[in-house]
Amino acid sequence: MSDDGTDDATDDATHLESGEGAPVPDKETDSPQTRTDDDPRAVDTAQHTGGGRVAELSAEDLEPVKIGERRGMFGATRGQDTSGYGGLVTPTLLPGATPRPYGSYYDEVADRLGAALDASVGYEAAVERVVVDRGEMTVFVAREHLATVARVLRDDPALRFEMCMGVSGTHYPGEEGRELHAVYPLLSITHGSRRVRLEVTCPDDDPHVPSVVDVWPGNDWHERETWDMFGIVFDGHPALTRILMPDDWPGHPQRKDYPLGGIPVEYKGGVVPPPDERRAYS
């Protein structure tokens, strides 16, 4: 469920048949904007499954997320691709929301999280979508509710994710309005090394994400690193300064618009260009 091109996605959704996610009948499309608290069916579902959105996943939610596209047959850029068919456009699609059941212990985690969140901010508002891909569960959290979700995940005895294994940033310049992602791998030693991943997004022109340092103090350096490398500002961090790069370094090196740098190297009479200028196929 991406913010970009909502109109297109809505159009697509209307003529897409979805087996699992039958939309709520009295609405044209299901989205956070159109969703209401008093929707009887949603309330029923939430009570049955402890906040799980079984019946509420719309076709739009299940759509994979487009983060960019690949052009040409081999993906070669810089006009080096002289072979194959150059007019090909292939979208790059990350997995979309997963319908229930998630499998493994993930249903239990989602139920418990839903029940705990409904007591405070509400599961619907806090959790954008849940993706179970390759046996790993990713919970996309609305950034304004990250602190609440984090606290619930840490403190609820049935969840007890007492360790946060840092935060890793990812930059998707092609995903408009959600360019920067912060990914938190959580670990619950109490429940036998259960793992869940939180993912928070923020747009490039408002790169703010609340800090989780007061929930997991060990994330201090990790958040500094992600600020350093991606320019995500973690609001509420005690001292958000650069950690790996020098204090006065301009730019954030891991962003996709930051060049790798390098110089051509001469070797046995030939010249090898720097890695980002070599022929590449991705």
């Binding site: 983060i67 690949r70 052009r71 040409g72 081999f74 993906g75 150059g86 007019g87 090909l88 456009v89 292939t90 979208p91 790059t92 699609l93 891909d133 390759r134 046996g135 790993e136 990713t138 007492e162 360790m163 946060c164 294994m165 840092g166 890793s168 940033g169 990812t170 930059h171 990914v183 791998p185 030693i189 090394s193 997991w216 103090p217 060990g218 994330n219 201090d220 350096w221 990790h222 490398m229 650069r242 950690i243 790996l244 020098p246 204090d247 006065d248 370094w249 301009p250 730019g251 090196p253 891991q254 618009d257 930051y258 060049p259 790798l260 890695p275 980002d276 590449a280 196929y281 991705s282």
Partner: protein, 468 residues
């Protein structure tokens, strides 16, 4: 799912990123933050210590800030410790890192998935196999081939990882001993480590930075005679470890320096996300090899070593005992290697497995003559396939994966993201040293300056992994 587009893709536009309007736009310029605002500064670099002390006491300053490192022999590489002292007591300790940042994660985004191994192996240079394993396991998860990794490849991986654990612990104890002034500990540690490096050289061709574990398996099978070599090495290592134990375990000097030093209890460890020997020194038997097994660890017989002292001494003892457990695993691996002799060490899928059939050629290295003869002489298809796979690499379906392994220092996690291309879209390593170094303040504040060295050594940080 493809569509047609007539426009010609233009990627000649310059990429932004470096903003020239920002202060300090010259990335190689001097830092602007070196202002000490009229405070007295002493540079300690030889000379009579007493002269310096007299000069400093003449100032009648209560608070002294000592900048230890980044070029200091006892900070395990380029770690910078900023200590605020009140006499001999540390009132505040901060760690400054980043002096060895080499942009490995960024570089990996510009190389193929297989070449990525060559980069991540250089992160924590004392535990190359763990980075390789974590990275390859996450790539395999993205590819969806985790279940198809041949048994023999997993056995070799486990054996190499356990030898690496012994290697890393030996250096941790050796350098830790040296920093306390016990050079014999260091010489024994490095002597024993040398045996392991010799094994690595025989099996992978390199002593460090091996790039041996590859997505899909390992680069090549263990050479003829490797099993006997490792078996002999294990026996020698046991003897060496016994020597270390006699030297350390009940040594009153060592105990005086380490017992009760660098204290960090379970609450502190959990809050700071600390894993590895430091966490196990609080009595919690958390080990990913047991709790979340990978590479078939659930089939090996070994114990998770714990102690309850929460201090530097117990971490040292844990490391010693863990080495024995590792050797136990290595011996089980050797038996299994003998049983699986001749089985494949690379995944069957020829779209992933590198075609390299390495053998010793006339120049001492290279592809086997047989393979060269086939691709050059008889099979054009094989030649094309070899060329495409090596230059272009394989494609990995879009998505993300996080895989953690129990490194010698704690949880080493690898978060990889693929956009469906032949190169990692993002590869992030959660290095245990990076996280554990945050405990420096908690372990050192309130203790003596000399204890800082011991506490840092008990964390066993390797700056190559911390800064990446």
């Amino acid at each position: 799912m493809t569509t047609h587009d007539d426009t010609i893709y233009d990627d000649s536009a310059p990429s932004p990123g470096l903003d020239e309007d920002l202060p300090g736009a010259d990335p190689y310029g001097a830092s602007v933050d070196d202002d000490t605002e009229g405070a007295a500064v002493f540079t300690v670099s030889g000379g009579d210590w007493n002269d310096l002390v007299d000069e400093a006491t003449a100032l009648h300053e209560e608070r002294i800030v000592v900048n230890m490192g980044p070029q200091h022999p006892s900070t395990h590489g380029v770690l910078r410790l900023i200590l605020e002292l009140d006499g001999e007591t540390v009132t505040e300790a901060r760690a400054g890192i980043g002096y060895l940042h080499t942009g490995i994660e960024k570089n990996m985004e510009f190389r193929t998935w297989t070449q990525g191994v060559t980069f991540c192996t250089r992160m924590d240079y004392l535990t190359p196999m763990f980075q390789e394993a974590a990275y390859c396991l996450s790539v395999e998860k993205l590819l969806g081939v985790t279940d198809r990794i041949p048994e023999r490849a997993s056995i070799i991986r486990v054996m190499m990882m356990e030898l690496t654990r012994v290697n890393s612990h030996l250096v941790a104890i050796g350098t830790g001993g040296m920093e306390m002034g016990a050079t014999t500990v260091m010489t024994i540690g490095f002597r024993e480590r040398e045996r392991i490096l010799r094994v690595f050289e025989a099996i992978t061709g390199l002593r460090m930075n091996n790039a041996y574990i590859r997505p899909g398996g390992v680069a090549q099978d263990v050479p003829h005679g490797a099993v006997d070599l490792v078996r002999g090495t294990v026996t020698e290592l046991r003897r060496g470890l016994g020597e270390l134990e006699k030297l350390l375990n009940e040594n009153p000097l060592l105990k005086g320096r380490t017992v009760g030093v660098g204290y960090l209890d379970l609450t502190g460890c959990t809050a700071l996300g600390i894993t590895g020997p430091v966490l196990r020194s609080t009595g919690l038997p958390h080990d990913l090899r047991k709790s979340d097994p990978y590479c078939g660890y659930e089939t090996y017989d070994f114990e998770v070593v714990t102690r309850t002292g929460c201090d530097a001494y117990d971490r040292l003892r844990i490391r010693i005992d863990e080495m024995y457990e590792s050797l136990k695993i290595v011996q089980q691996c050797l038996d299994r290697l003998q049983r699986t002799e001749g089985q494949p060490v690379m995944v069957e899928d020829k779209k992933i497995a590198w075609p390299a059939q390495l053998a010793i050629g006339g120049d001492g290295q290279g592809n086997s003559l047989e393979h060269i003869r086939e691709i050059m002489g008889t099979s054009m298809e094989a030649l094309i396939h070899h060329f495409k796979l090596v230059t272009e690499g394989f494609r990995v379906p879009p998505g993300q994966a996080y895989v953690a392994v129990e490194s010698a220092k704690g949880e080493l996690g690898c978060h990889t993201v693929s956009d469906g291309g032949t190169r990692p879209y993002r590869a992030h390593f959660r290095d245990p040293s990076f996280n554990n170094l945050q405990a420096v303040a908690a372990m050192c504040e309130g203790s003596q300056v000399a204890d800082v060295i011991v506490a840092v050594a008990s964390i066993d940080p390797v700056m190559g992994g911390v800064d990446r």
